[in-house]
């Protein structure tokens, strides 16, 4: 991981923000300017309507007054309308009125067109986002695959099974069940999903509980497997009891008796192995009156201790049951996410040097993928002379001096039967090298 990622995101974000600002501005303008002109229009309509009415009433009452109806005419923009009080039937607009209306219409046209143009102008900024995304992110990762192993239905079903198992492990049985139903998995496979993950799902449930600081289930489980855990030199049972004990002690003086009883019942079987530690724990009673949080014992109940405890539990329990701690799917996908960028990189290099096909005649990946040590599950011996992985055809051999090279290298280096070790001065008989197994 490098800053590159953040930078790529940041550059998209920058352009996005620009568009957001413009959109917000436009939204404001649309509300304000269009709203403004709209209310001006309705105001005009109102005024015209009133003017008409006034005239009509004036006419019907035949009372010819001063002829000017000043009052309702005073609206914004300082408009002033003269309404003539001609008795003739259809009212016509005066020049002044026409002028005002013309002005208003002109303004209205101007503003609505401005809205349309301003919105259209956004196009550039928006499509720039797309360009930045294309520039910073790779759209096509398919070329990293030589064979598509996921094309045939059987493999896809196996993958579905792996997905179902993954969620089953985490106690999301419904997700697994829906998937099984939807992909029409066979009864046999479905059974396997639940059977194989049942054990882990239990462990996972206890693990979640430890993180919630509930120890009962965990203690019950470890007591069940007590002997096996002891045989494996597992710390977990003692650690759980210790945590439980500290929990009791932390309740203060009133639970003192309970804590002592607990220690007497449960610490006995650890007496030999953890003698010192038990002594240490029992000394915590000294601090009880002052409260545990003010004592050197406070770190026993810190958050890290809980995290560590749950981690040890998960590790030891899985080891005991002979099941994997990580879901296969998550290991594979995370390894794949590490591998893909590297493969894309090498593909670009190979293309720029016009090496045809990164996979030609080779059943290995073109480069080494730098995985975390915890995801290395098998020994790989690469011959230090030929820089090649050994195989059944070219197995690793131990020379009499203890150095290991591949069989092919051994033949290349030996002169008749005589071989001088490439790493030390020993001369030896090439026939005496032994095949070894990692």
């Amino acid at each position: 991981m490098d800053n590159n990622e953040v930078w790529a995101c940041a550059s998209v974000e920058k352009d996005l923000d620009r568009v957001v600002t413009k959109l917000e501005q436009l939204h404001e303008n649309a509300s304000a300017e269009i709203g403004d002109i709209a209310s001006l229009m309705s105001e005009l309509v109102k005024v015209l309507g009133k003017a008409e009415q006034t005239v009509t009433t004036l006419n019907s009452s035949t009372q010819v007054g001063s002829g000017s109806v000043d009052d309702p005419m005073d609206i914004e923009h300082g408009m002033h309308m003269q309404v003539e009080t001609e008795p003739a039937a259809p009212q016509r607009l005066t020049d002044r009125q026409m002028e005002i209306i013309r002005e208003a219409i002109l303004k209205c046209n101007e503003r609505v067109q401005k809205l349309s143009t301003e919105h259209r102008d956004l196009h550039g900024s928006i499509s720039k986002i797309g360009k930045v995304i294309d520039r910073n992110f790779t759209a096509d990762f398919t070329s990293t695959m030589r064979v598509d192993a996921l094309l045939d239905d059987e493999n896809l079903m196996l993958l579905n099974k792996a997905i179902a198992k993954h969620y089953c492990r985490q106690g999301m049985d419904e997700v697994a069940r829906t998937l099984i139903k939807e992909c029409k998995m066979t009864e046999e496979h479905a059974q396997d999903v639940f059977d194989s993950e049942r054990e882990f799902a239990d462990i996972y449930g206890i693990w979640v509980k430890i993180q919630k600081r509930e120890l009962d289930d965990a203690l019950r489980w470890t007591m069940r497997f007590s002997q096996q855990l002891l045989d494996r030199h597992s710390l977990i049972e003692f650690r759980l009891h210790r945590m439980r004990f500290m929990q009791l002690v932390s309740y203060g003086l009133e639970s003192q008796h309970e804590a002592i009883v607990y220690a007497r019942t449960h610490f006995k079987k650890f007496a030999v192995r953890y003698e010192h530690e038990i002594a240490n724990l029992m000394a915590s009673f000294i601090y009880l009156p002052g409260g545990l949080e003010n004592s050197p014992y406070k770190h026993f109940l810190a958050q890290e201790m809980w995290t560590e405890l749950s981690f040890i539990f998960l590790k030891d329990a899985c080891q005991l049951l002979g099941i994997s701690k990580n879901s296969a799917l998550s290991v594979v996908v995370n390894a794949g996410c590490t591998a893909l960028p590297a493969l894309l990189n090498i593909k670009q290099v190979m293309q720029s040097r016009q090496v045809l096909g990164m996979w030609n005649g080779c059943d290995e990946l073109p480069i080494e993928i730098d995985l975390q040590p915890e995801f290395r599950f098998h020994s790989i011996f690469a011959c230090p002379i030929l820089r090649q992985q050994t195989s059944e055809d070219n197995p690793p051999k131990k020379l009499t001096c203890g150095h290991v090279i591949s069989n092919d290298a051994l033949h290349k280096l030996s002169n008749g039967h005589v071989l001088k070790c490439p790493y030390c001065p020993v001369e030896q008989n090439a026939e005496e090298a032994v095949r070894i197994y990692f």
């Binding site: 509300s31 009212q91 067109q113 928006i126």
Partner: protein, 394 residues
């Protein structure tokens, strides 16, 4: 190249395409409403520019129209722009999530690892959801998105539309798919899509199947000419269906009459939908699974004796998927003790039993009994006080 740059193109590109689409439809709506306003305002102007002064009540009415249209324009413009803004919010949320791969600098050790793990867990859920959607397992995707609360980080919306179309196609109806084609007309033309033609052909076939041959001819006259430049050959083939009975044995006709053509339409439609949003034809998930299997695959995974229960490729199902995939590549030896799982190095020196099996120094203690007998954990051979030799690996 980094993980995000290599894998997250679709995460951002899809909301961008949606934004772009919303922008275009917003522009269309605004332009239409602007036209409406201009139309009525032109009527007012016309009235004002007449030979004699216009009648007041007429103008009042026209002005009323203008005011009303302006209100409509205002409302619609606000709505459309809000639509656009909501898409930008989706986009922003996704960027925020992507940036989470780099936890804040001040966090250390476990906390740092914890937040990276959490991020990766979310990523896995996202990738699985996308894969499920592509496979058409919508219910499962829905359920998972709800359970792990990652809906806002996925592209489920575009798949939701496609789900409706697919269900419709599966029921042998073209209605929704045709609507979809019209909705995305310009974009489909840009990517040279023939999906609409395929749909029209299917409609034609169905008419023939129901023996409504005149209707079929009418249908062909209406829709096929648009494609005569590019699809003439196929048009001829399709038209020849008119000449044969429905249950014809003619090879090329049978191909069209096959009800399974509907299933192919579903798949075609899915592909076109991906192309429309510039999604790659395979999911990131399947690419990652395959690259990951390769990166983990060693010859040991295919031997009887050296399997490791923690290794995913050693597990039965994944083992079979990985069969055809390339092995990992390695130029530097990395050795792991098969008993303890610990790396072999200067602290845990590799030691050889007389049968050539190598284990770590620490494991040798575990497999040696008090009386000096050693049992090889791989071959189960017993050695009494064997000579255990150190080996040196460069």
């Amino acid at each position: 190249m980094s993980e995000i740059k290599a894998l997250e193109h679709a995460t951002l590109k899809v909301p961008y395409e949606i934004l772009n689409k919303r922008f275009r439809s917003a522009q269309k709506i605004i332009d239409r409403e602007v036209d409406q306003v201009m139309n009525v305002s032109r009527q007012v102007e016309k009235a004002l520019n007449g030979d004699e002064a216009p009648i007041m009540s007429d103008v009042t009415k026209l002005m009323g129209n203008v005011a009303q249209k302006l209100q409509v324009l205002k409302r619609k413009a606000e709505e459309s722009i809000n639509d656009e803004l909501s898409v930008t919010q989706i986009c922003k949320r996704k960027i925020e999530h992507l940036k989470g791969i780099m936890p804040p600098n001040n966090s250390t050790g476990d906390l740092w690892q914890g937040s990276v793990d959490q991020w990766k867990r979310i990523r896995l859920d996202r990738l699985v959801i996308e894969h499920l959607l592509r496979m058409g397992y919508y219910e499962t995707a829905e359920e998972l998105a709800g359970r792990s609360d990652v809906r806002h980080l996925t592209n489920m919306d575009i798949f939701q539309t496609s789900r409706e179309v697919e269900v419709d196609l599966a029921n042998h109806s073209t209605t929704k798919c045709v609507l979809w084609c019209i909705d995305n007309k310009s974009k489909l033309r840009k990517i040279n899509s023939t999906i609409e033609f395929s749909l029209r052909v299917q409609e034609f076939i169905e008419l023939v199947r129901q023996n409504q041959r005149f209707e079929a001819v009418k249908h062909s006259r209406r829709y096929f000419p648009a494609y005569e430049k590019t699809q003439l050959n196929e048009i001829c083939h399709v038209m020849s269906l008119l000449a044969y009975p429905v249950d014809t044995e003619m090879e090329h006709c049978k191909k069209y009459m096959d009800p399974r053509r509907w299933d192919r339409l579903v798949l075609d439609f899915r592909q076109e939908n991906y192309r429309l949003f510039q999604l790659s034809s395979t999911s990131v998930f399947s690419a990652a699974v395959q690259a990951g299997l390769s990166a983990l695959k060693t010859p040991h995974c295919y031997t009887q004796t050296c399997r490791n229960l923690n290794c995913p490729v050693c597990q039965e199902d994944l083992n079979r998927i990985a069969l055809k995939l390339p092995y990992s590549h390695c130029v530097q030896s990395r050795l792991i003790c098969r008993v303890t799982g610990l790396p072999l190095n200067e602290n845990n020196h590799p030691m050889m039993l007389p049968n050539g099996q190598i284990f770590g120094q620490m494991a040798i203690q575990d497999i040696t009994k008090d009386d000096g007998t050693v049992t090889c954990p791989v071959t189960n051979t017993k050695f009494t006080k064997p000579k255990i030799e150190k080996v040196f690996v460069m």
